[in-house]
């Protein structure tokens, strides 16, 4: 992730977004603007729970309003393919409290 601030360097890459309500959405970054509104293609949500492994829900093309975004992470494909999501258990992330 070179360049200056902003998300230019992540366009057309797979990213992992954490939203203010604690959800984790993974998809390909197609666009963004000043307010961090983002367009994700081929996206899916990863639902964490302590009862079972990580569930993946297909969402497709998604737009997320910037106000609702906490973190945009560059997903390392190698690291990600080594994750054993089916057996990964964790509490869902807490929502952001301003």
């Amino acid at each position: 992730m070179s360049d200056g601030p902003g998300l230019e360097s992540l366009v057309d890459q797979t990213i992992s977004v954490i939203t203010n309500d604690g959800r984790n959405i993974v998809g390909i970054l197609k666009g963004f603007d000043q307010a961090t509104n983002i367009i994700l293609d081929e996206s899916h949500e990863r639902v964490y729970s302590t009862k079972e492994g990580v569930q993946q829900l297909v969402l497709g093309l998604y737009i997320i309003r910037g106000d609702n975004i906490s973190v945009v992470g560059e997903l390392d494909e190698d690291l990600d393919s080594n994750l054993d999501l089916k057996n990964l258990r964790a509490h869902p992330l807490k929502p952001v409290i301003h």
Binding site: M1, G4, P5, V71, E74, N82, H98
Partner: protein, 93 residues
Amino acid sequence: MLFFSYFKDLVGREVTVELKNDLAIRGTLHSVDQYLNIKLENTRVVDQDKYPHMLSVRNCFIRGSVVRYVQLPPEGVDVELLHDATRREARGG
């Protein structure tokens, strides 16, 4: 503007950013913008067992609006310089 300039001087340092959802992410400060959005490189979540949600993320963008604290390296803080800068800003110039 003061804190924007201040964080720009910290680029390249190792910092820990604590978010308003209690997640704490440690990494090398890569860049900051006018909204105090922060980009970190070589990141790891401080409590990975409790928060495995970012295990496959090594570089990330954190929205300024969700930052609660930025923990700085002690040598990154020049108290005299900050004193002068805050007084100058308080005087309006």
